[in-house]
Subunit: 408 residues, 2 copies
Amino acid sequence: MALIVQKFGGTSVGSVERIREVAKRAIRTRQEGHQVVIVVSAMSGETDRLLHLGRAVSPKPAEREMDTLLATGEQVTIALLAMALEGLGQKAVSYTGGQVPILTDTAHTKARIQHIASERIRAALDAGKIVVVAGFQGVDPDGNITTLGRGGSDTTAVALAAALHADECAIYTDVDGIYTTDPRVESRARRLDRITFEEMLEMASLGAKVLQTRSVEFAMKYNVPVRVLSSFTDGTGTLVTNEENPVEAPRVSGIAFSRNEAKITVPGVPDRPGIAHAILGPISAAHINVDVIIQNVSEAGKTDFTFTVERSDFAKAMDIVRDIAQGLGADAVQGDEHIVKVSVVGVGMRSHAGIAATMFASLAQENINIQMISTSEIKISVVVDEKYLELAVRTLHTAFALHGEAAL
Amino acid sequence: MALIVQKFGGTSVGSVERIREVAKRAIRTRQEGHQVVIVVSAMSGETDRLLHLGRAVSPKPAEREMDTLLATGEQVTIALLAMALEGLGQKAVSYTGGQVPILTDTAHTKARIQHIASERIRAALDAGKIVVVAGFQGVDPDGNITTLGRGGSDTTAVALAAALHADECAIYTDVDGIYTTDPRVESRARRLDRITFEEMLEMASLGAKVLQTRSVEFAMKYNVPVRVLSSFTDGTGTLVTNEENPVEAPRVSGIAFSRNEAKITVPGVPDRPGIAHAILGPISAAHINVDVIIQNVSEAGKTDFTFTVERSDFAKAMDIVRDIAQGLGADAVQGDEHIVKVSVVGVGMRSHAGIAATMFASLAQENINIQMISTSEIKISVVVDEKYLELAVRTLHTAFALHGEAAL
């Protein structure tokens, strides 16, 4: 008998019919002899409806009250799902975040889970019940309702799985697993049976729609095996887990990419200590995340300083850098919004020069100019002109023999 | 500085605009120097929407889960109202039933309030906040969400007023007070400035739409002055309170009536002890409420036994009585669904024969046949054919000089 946490998002519980399907699926798992805890989001559309109501009442709604408002979305779903389970003859009970309780800090609209009391859920499971828990929400030490922010239901599911020492956390979504790359770009993309947490984090550019980064970090920290599955079709999905059998040979798991990139270059800045901080300090102070950073070889005491930011932060970052550049006596700031980042992801990669060589050679063969390079233990990323995105992804997918037999 | 509890029903908070109006009204009361606690229902239509969802998921939804589902209705309103107050620059905080907490028994869908902890609300009031509390809901000792059943928000408001020793519990409705009779029957009906709890209970046939009987009983028990006011117009409404200055002369406050009546007669039953119990015992066991009961003078060892029930229970009651009558050797059971009850209500009435004499004389003058009579300390009720309802009400309204100067 295993303990399985199953998480269903808004689309999976978007109608009365779908809620009944979720109930049947959970009952099947129960009948296979497992204990089941289900975490659900608000029915699709409901959170937007509530947000709209809140903003109609007040242009800047109080965050504490916004959390109280939004938390009703999941509360509706847990009640309906528990009813559906009981209607099908399965003992069940629903708990709001406050009833579990899932204790968080006091940061309304983006609270962090601090502690989950598992006694109540364990008692219900031991009484043969399926337990239905509201995702996305908790309570602070004073009993105020909090919400966890974007992707919060995934985090609730993983955190519950960790607290209950569950055997697996199954995340049901609208895709049937994690792919070697985006099937819309490379139709021969193949579903991965397994992937490590680290790889999953690097695949975030693909995976963000599937699994929130924060929940993957949580799963990695507490070593909770996560399985990504489809709500609508059967299948074993992709298991995200720690690498249990490290292999000597490097393995390329997939080709990740991100369109949400922009590049800023400050040419001709004085090449002296502290220049990186002088430029990036104000950027960081403005809560803009910097990704790839490159400082070219110095030439006559001057250097070119280049970094990438998310495309949505580009205009703001340019304004800041223009101000700084003047103070530094740099030449005019150059910006480029038409770049993308393409990454080869896999464990044990950095120590194997062969991967990088293959990557650069394949791109060169297609005349794709590499603007920036960045490496980590498990990925090599290149920044290229956005017009090469699809070509680069397909070229690398082929070069690393990632094609499966069936396409999506 | 007084402490005022204000309760607004579903229509009064039925839209974003109306929620803002409620916020402004509460702020006016606050600015007059009072502390304000607001109790709200779900926005009109919301409870029905949730009920519909629940029944769509399961034909017999689990009651615990139905309470969890329905409680979201008020939770949405408290959050929106608190946002509206804060948007208008007024410090505010919302509490669900569970957050106050309002402790109830475990009877889901019809729970009874057992205790209200007032510390949290008091602290918020002392911090200058307007406190917004969800009506209709509470938590049982195990933290399960409960609801109070029909009219529950009125009960929450009165119970909160009692727990906080509030100076007044203002119930905002869609009428501007309690009238001497239903203005749709007698256009010259007059709004009462004051009425006692006992009179209010007897006026329930009019007042049920205004104030739930259960909340009046609660207010009487804890001596909480209740004021019935309109949400939409200004005015002082009707104050429902204990009689503080008892007067010698009897006072007729109003003419109440009920259409929801049916009469059952068992003629020719043996006139011996225990016959009432033999007939009414099984009726009571079937959870049917009996109102007026009359046993005629015995004639040759036989008597006629008559009683009234709510019209909706008539068919069920007839079936039960038919079975019993056979066993008692009674003649055929007679039923009449076409009767109504008309009552003259006022304190100090029974000891003043003049009231009854005036009542019977006026009805006789209009040729209205009285079928049954029932009296209590504060009312005289007669059962008449339903075709006489309007005539009887208008006749009595005139006979007791209840007309006001202005009509509704």
